[in-house]
């Protein structure tokens, strides 16, 4: 028998702490596949967030540093500037990146750091028990918005990708999902591009993944995929929000 699909080398052979149907596991696997395909495992450094993915260093089979809540972009900036030949990426949830770390991501993006950012938007704070995040949908019930998010009281869900796309320093920004095989393939393609851009020195690349958090949403895994499709995607539109890759490559002569 010939192998068609084998577990990527960039993943450790361990059982993760993620809930059944959680998007984190799927995105970890796609990142690991991309790192394997680009043959950069031994020079990759990931920065793990605070949130359910805090244990990413136990799951990825390459170097991973841990940053305080919301600070992965600052840690990534330092590592990439000191070790420019490494492939440096941050992996962050929406509480981490869009709430406590909003300032960090905006400035790293605006400086045009040559890093890759993988942003997991699951519309709540997963690890701490499902509180409202800046990305929580209007009307969505969380432990801190038990009658549903009221935009008059809690503001509107933050569209981080759109926000970062307005900044001069950013090169590639795409929002993707995991709702079915076609979209998982698209997500992998986006992640691959975001890492390839770093290899060519093209600049700040950002992939937002709409990601199921079944347990905190009070849904079964398959219902959570449907929730992403029916509820999240209409608000957080999928697609490329910005792509200056070719322009930047020309500029760099890459």
């Amino acid at each position: 028998m010939k192998p068609v699909y084998l577990k990527p080398e960039s993943l450790k052979d361990v059982v993760t702490s993620y809930c059944p149907g959680c998007g984190h596991g799927l995105v970890h696997r796609l990142i690991a596949e991309v790192i394997d395909e680009l043959k950069v495992r031994e020079k990759t450094i990931g920065i793990a967030p605070v949130g359910c993915a805090v244990y990413a260093y136990d799951y990825f089979n390459f170097d991973v540093a841990e940053a305080p809540h919301g600070r992965p972009p600052a840690v990534a900036t330092a590592i990439k500037r000191c070790l420019p030949d490494r492939i440096v990426f941050t992996y962050q949830g929406d509480g981490d990146l869009a709430s406590i770390g909003t300032n960090e991501i905006i400035h790293a993006a605006n400086r045009g750091e040559n890093i890759t950012v993988i942003f997991i938007n699951n519309a709540n704070y997963g690890m701490t028990g499902g509180q409202m995040a800046p990305t929580t949908l209007p009307g969505m019930r969380t432990t801190t918005t038990q009658k549903g998010r009221d935009s008059k009281l809690h503001g509107f869900p933050l569209r981080v990708s759109e926000l970062l796309a307005t900044l001069e320093g950013t090169v590639y920004i795409e929002r993707v999902s995991l709702i079915d095989p076609a979209n998982v393939i698209k997500t992998k393609k986006a992640i691959k591009k975001a890492f390839s851009n770093q290899l060519t020195g093209t600049g700040f690349s950002f992939v937002e993944v709409l990601s199921p958090c079944p347990v905190n949403w009070g849904l079964k895994p398959l219902e959570a995929l449907k929730f992403v499709k029916d509820q999240m995607i209409p608000y957080f539109k999928l697609g490329i929000l910005k792509d200056k890759t070719e322009e930047m490559k020309k500029e760099k002569g890459a």
């Binding site: 028998m1 010939k2 192998p3 699909y5 577990k7 993620y18 059944p20 149907g21 799927l26 998982v184």
Partner: protein
């Protein structure tokens, strides 16, 4: 017809999310009756009629990297 298994599921990693079952076009993956160390009823592969074409959609959807897929060598 090959008797070798095309889809290998690591039962300790499976969390029974059902993504692989939902998207397998051949309907040959199902939630089993036995549970793993974590208590999840892990998925089993039953392909008596040799319907599996090794498309690996199940592995593509698996959040746990619990699935590995193989295909027959051409004779």
């Amino acid at each position: 017809m090959s008797k070798e298994i095309k889809v290998k599921i690591d039962k300790e990693k499976c969390k029974s999310c059902g993504f692989c079952v939902l998207y397998c076009a051949k309907g040959i993956l199902f939630t089993g009756k036995k549970n793993n160390a974590k208590g999840f009823f892990y998925i089993e592969f039953d392909d008596k009629l040799n319907k599996c074409n090794s498309c690996a959609i199940c592995a593509l959807m698996c959040p746990e990297a619990a699935i590995e897929v193989f295909k027959e060598d051409k004779k």
